[in-house]
């Protein structure tokens, strides 16, 4: 329902022509530094990474401290361990050259950084599959503006045997789109589902690559709350930290995903 919030913000700002922005001085308290874990594993061989860093001050620039020399491993349901190694030239980034996520499995991540240990688990489900990508033309955006843009729709068939959670990533002409799209099958279990990537601007001639990820509820909750955290304005929820699935005092997430990708080119 981020559509609606976004729509409100657009209308509110669009209507109120006298609105003005300025930078003000707001003194903020300093929170203790926390370790941030971003652990992403896909079902393609070697398609995985773990990024370890620390939180920083709000007003400092964003070159966050990286955590090098950590011991990072992922273990599957059968107990097979895969040790990740730090990527040369990229401090704080860890990867495994051949590891691949399998369907209907369950993985455990373990990170030992200095004296601290963090763990997390992530089950996997079926391999999702896009049916098709389509597009429609629109002028302006929800009544604001007059530019002609395109709205890209994806559709896929949900697995009726389980409760499923999805994330959709978009790249326009190779550049990653910042918008977060997540959904669950509470309203369409076992049926065909279709939705536009409503917040992504697409123009004539653009190449749009979409990725569909199947994930567990903890990952869904993480991304849903991450999206709420980033929303702004009067129709956004009270800000809070995304609900992490990592235990041991770190923030961030660990996800093992089964995925599918599809590309559409908007004709000139």
């Amino acid at each position: 329902m981020k559509t609606i919030h976004w729509f409100f913000s657009t209308v509110t700002v669009g209507l109120l022509v006298t609105a003005c922005e300025k930078v003000i001085d707001v003194p903020l308290e300093e929170a203790d530094r926390k370790i941030v874990v971003e652990a992403v594993f896909r079902d393609n061989p070697g398609d995985n990474y773990v990024l370890l860093s620390k939180t920083g001050s709000v007003y400092d620039n964003s070159d966050f401290e990286k955590i090098s020399g950590a011991a990072v491993k992922i273990t599957d349901q059968a107990g097979t361990e895969f040790l990740l190694t730090e990527v040369p030239g990229m401090p704080g980034a860890y990867s495994h050259a051949s590891f691949q996520v399998m369907t209907n499995n369950a993985y455990t991540l373990s990170v030992v950084a200095g004296s601290e240990t963090f763990t997390a688990s992530s089950p996997t489900f079926y391999k999702p599959q896009f049916d098709s990508l389509t597009y429609t033309e629109q002028v302006g955006s929800f009544g604001v503006g007059t530019d002609t843009t395109y709205l890209v729709f994806f559709s896929f068939m949900d697995d009726g045997s389980a409760e499923n959670f999805y994330r959709i990533n978009a790249w326009v002409n190779g550049a990653a789109d910042e918008n977060l799209y997540v959904t669950n099958d509470e309203l369409f279990n076992g049926q065909n589902y279709s939705q536009p990537i409503y917040a992504t601007t697409v123009e004539k001639g653009d190449t749009v690559l979409l990725e569909l990820l199947s994930m567990d509820k903890a990952n869904y909750t993480y991304f849903y709350s991450l999206a709420s955290n980033q929303a702004e304005g009067p129709f956004a929820a009270t800000p809070s930290n995304p609900v992490s699935n990592i235990t041991g005092g770190a923030i961030g997430y660990f996800g093992a995903y089964t995925t599918d990708t599809m590309t559409i080119i908007i004709p000139e």
Binding site: M1, I4, F7, L16, T18, A19, C20, E21, K22, V23, I24, V26, L28, E29, E30, A31, R33, K34, V36, E38, S53, T55, G56, S57, V58, Y59, D60, N61, S62, F64, Q138, V139, G140, F142, G143, T146, S155, E186, L187, F188, Q191, Y193, S194, T221, Y224, S225, N229, Q230, P234, F235, A236, A237, T238, P239, S240, N241, P242, V243, I251, G252
Partner: protein, 790 residues
């Protein structure tokens, strides 16, 4: 239920104590009406000159009843803006006296408003009650020049605005969903237009507005914080009249007149905005197909069948409509209807039977042709109500009645067009039944005491059909139970005592105290900062317990300079149980298991309210100051320590001045100042998914900047009289014009203060540095409105 018995016994004892026997007594009763329009006069005071301290007040239908020992009396009938009338009566039998009062004659240089009784403030049995006069609403400057009772109400102590230009309000630390807004007895669930900038009430159609901030009589229940009781006009029963206005945002038109002269009347009042007219002028096809407007329509009719019976039919219909081309549509609105039968059973017993309907819904439509996807939500009430006023004797007025409400909740209805090859399931409907009975007596003891005591009993049942979930501590479903039609899912009972007392110290001062308990069985589910049209309501259930509030208040009332200046101080403490908050990142829209996203906690609010008000003379207005604190406590939030509620504002000041220069020119000014809302700001940041994300440590640990604003207004009445020269005698006389008109000019935020609407922490695209960016919505907003009447 065990505590019901002792309470009712006490009540009976108190009641019987009020009776006196012996002397032969008779009753004078009747109705009081406006001599020019035939409208009922509410709250008029009838005093007996021979028996100081004895009197009666007309109820909301203009009915009064007064029982006195046999004798000869002079009765004085007085009301705001009417010429008082004295009537001599020989009371040796029961008498019916229906009277009409003349409105105050307009003179050229004196503007005098006769108030109720001059010392009403001190002597009445009510406290924590605010009343707004139509004159105040008309002259006080507001944003875009759209007169708004809600915004005028926000200038009173203890009532806080929900934000810049917003019509939502908070009363004594309660949430905006804890206000019961009644239009002719019908609850209005979402009382705002255009994302909160305007209230849904067109003030042209309104007659009387009363806000109970606490200690509401037992006839009201169902919301924790306050009751805003709004009565619509009945319409002119003497002659047809038209009035209206053309403003910056909207135009209004009201038609009223008799159905049968002096027997029945009607009023139709409409309002519509016209921002979309400009869109129509666009040559872009997509744009001129767009819609952007709201409208509302108030209708009321009444008819008198004989002396004792009267039927009222009133309705409200309002809607906001946003649409863009045929790709997107969004509309929402309220509809209410009230059918009411007044019957005078005897000169002492007045009865009211009402059937009330209320509906709020919204619809959002995406896509066009057969490729559509629509989301809707709705709450609907059907309410049957029976109320009696029993004027037992001149010292006791007993109100009692019963009420039954059937609620239907549709949290999410999803429809897809025929061209869409998939379907989404609806969120299950919910049903509930709310039954209440109440009893309330106002008793005068000697001349110095007024006692108000009442008891309300509420029974709430959540009904099937549907699947009902049980959740674990993490909010995950652990069990599902299916119930059939009309099957009881969960029952709650609540007993609410209401007590109030006034002790008159001397002619100019009094002390008042009150206690009241309130229950709320329907809950707004919304974790957004501002109220939004997509807010949904849910009933109490096995998971959501009824919200309960206990409020204590004590006040000192003192008038100065022969009642020219009214002063009051009220202190209050409110304790709230089972208040609702949300898990971090809660998903509250289109979520069948939304109850798992809720958290339950406690709330407390306390404060002091100071009011100094001048009601008469050329300069009128008030100064209001509120010192308050509002906090919440939840196991899961802020490590289980008390944290400030968002609407926690330490200081809140409103100054309102209206200066009437002569009968043509009125100047007005308001100045407001309040402490910034409590807000959550980050105390760190980090990078994830290639994005910079804020890190939070404390709920509502920061403050928005303090808010202040000055508004100015001028009302210019065009000449109301014309000079007519008698052709024979040559004598000039002043004759009132049939066409009355006025101009209203106002300036919102006259000194262009940039008040913070929101503060966000963003990275500067050039420097890469994070900055606190403040958004201010309105700088100076001038507006002009033309009003007319004929």
């Amino acid at each position: 239920m065990r505590c019901l018995l002792p309470n009712s016994l006490l009540l009976l004892l108190l009641l019987t104590a009020g009776f006196s026997f012996g002397q032969e007594k008779f009753t004078i009763s009747g109705t009081l009406k406006d001599g020019s329009t035939g409208e009922d006069i509410i709250g008029a005071r009838i005093t007996v000159l021979e028996l100081p301290g004895t009197g009666a007040i007309t109820n909301t239908f203009g009915f009064y009843s007064l029982t006195l020992p046999k004798g000869t009396y002079t009765l004085q009938y007085k009301s705001l803006s009417f010429t008082p009338m004295e009537v001599k009566i020989e009371l040796n039998q029961d008498i019916t006296k229906n009277l009409e009062l003349k409105p105050d004659a307009k003179t050229f240089d004196v503007v005098e408003i006769t108030t109720e009784r001059a010392d009403e403030n001190v002597t009445s049995g009510e406290m924590s009650v605010e009343r707004i006069s139509v004159k105040d609403i008309e002259t006080i400057p507001v944003i875009f020049g759209e007169k708004d009772i809600f915004k005028t109400m926000q200038l009173l102590p203890g009532v806080k605005s929900a934000g810049e230009g917003n019509s939502g309000f908070y009363v004594r630390g309660g949430g905006s969903d804890q206000n019961l807004v009644l239009l002719d007895g019908a609850p209005v669930y979402n009382a705002s237009h255009l994302l909160g900038f305007f209230s849904v009430f067109n003030s042209d159609a309104l007659k009387d507005v009363k806000l109970y901030k606490g200690g509401a009589p037992a006839e009201f229940g169902g919301r924790l914080s306050s009751v805003m009781d709004i009565k619509m006009k009945e319409g002119n029963a003497k002659q047809f009249s038209f009035s209206g206005g053309v403003g910056l945002i909207a135009s209004r038109l009201t038609i009223e007149g008799p159905i049968v002269k002096n027997k029945g009347s009607f009023i139709v009042s409409g309002r519509r905005t016209y921002a979309d007219v400009f869109l129509k002028l666009s040559n872009k096809e997509q744009l001129n197909k767009s819609t952007l407007y709201f409208y509302d329509l108030n209708l009321k009719a009444n008819y008198r069948f004989g002396e004792k019976d009267r039927i009222f039919l009133s309705g409200y219909f309002g809607r906001d409509n946003f649409g863009f081309s045929d790709q997107f549509g969004f509309d929402w609105g309220n509809a209410t209807g009230t059918l009411r039968w007044n019957h005078i059973y005897s000169d002492k017993l007045f009865g009211n039977t009402s059937v009330i309907f209320s509906n709020y819904n919204y619809k959002i439509k995406f896509g066009g042709g057969n490729q559509t996807f629509q989301i809707g939500s709705e709450i609907q009430d059907i309410n049957v109500k029976e109320d009696f006023d029993w004027y037992i004797n001149s010292n006791n007025t007993l109100k009692f009645g019963a009420n039954f409400i059937h609620h239907t909740f549709k949290p999410g209805e999803i429809e897809t067009g025929s061209g869409i090859n998939f379907e989404l399931n609806d969120i299950q409907k919910r049903y509930s039944a709310e039954t209440s009975v109440y009893l309330q007596n106002e008793q005068k003891i000697k001349k110095r005491w007024v006692l108000n005591y009442g008891l309300r009993f509420d029974n709430f049942i959540q009904l099937g059909p549907g699947d009902f979930y049980t959740y674990n501590d993490a909010g995950d479903v652990i069990d599902t139970t299916t119930y059939g039609d009309w099957e009881r899912v969960k029952t709650y009972n609540g007993l609410s005592p209401r007590l109030g007392t006034t002790f008159i110290l001397n002619e100019v001062s009094s002390i008042k105290a009150s206690y009241g308990r309130t229950y709320q069985f329907v809950h707004l589910i919304s974790n957004t900062t501002a109220s939004s049209p997509t807010d949904i309501w849910l009933p109490s259930s096995s998971n959501i317990k009824p919200e309960i509030a206990d409020q204590f208040a004590i006040g000192y009332f003192r008038n100065f300079f022969n009642n020219a200046l009214e002063g009051s101080v009220e202190l209050y403490y409110k304790d709230m149980q089972n208040t609702i908050d949300y898990r971090d990142g809660a998903e509250v829209t289109l979520n069948p298991t939304v109850e798992g996203e809720l958290l339950y906690g406690r709330g407390r609010a306390y404060g002091a309210e100071f009011l100094l008000r001048k009601k008469n003379g050329k300069l009128t207005g008030w100064v209001a100051y509120t010192l308050a604190k509002t906090e919440r406590l939840f196991d899961e939030i802020n490590s289980n320590t008390w944290y400030p509620a968002r609407q926690d504002r330490r200081h809140d000041i409103s100054i309102v001045g209206i200066y009437t220069l002569n009968d043509r020119l009125t100047f007005s000014a308001t100045w407001v100042y309040y402490t910034g809302n409590a807000v959550t700001f980050p105390s760190g940041k980090y990078e994830i998914d290639g994005q910079i994300v804020n890190y939070y440590t404390e709920r509502n640990g920061y403050r928005m900047p303090n808010y202040h604003r000055l508004d100015l207004g001028i009302t210019l009445n065009n000449k109301a009289y014309k000079t007519v020269t008698d052709p024979e005698t040559g004598v000039e006389t002043q004759v009132a014009k049939r066409w009355e008109s006025s101009w209203n000019l106002s300036v919102y935020n006259a000194y262009a203060r940039e008040n913070a609407y929101s503060i966000s922490f963003k990275e500067n695209a050039e420097t890469g540095q994070t900055e606190a960016v403040q958004l201010a919505l309105f700088k100076i907003i001038p507006s002009i409105t033309y009003n007319f009447k004929f």
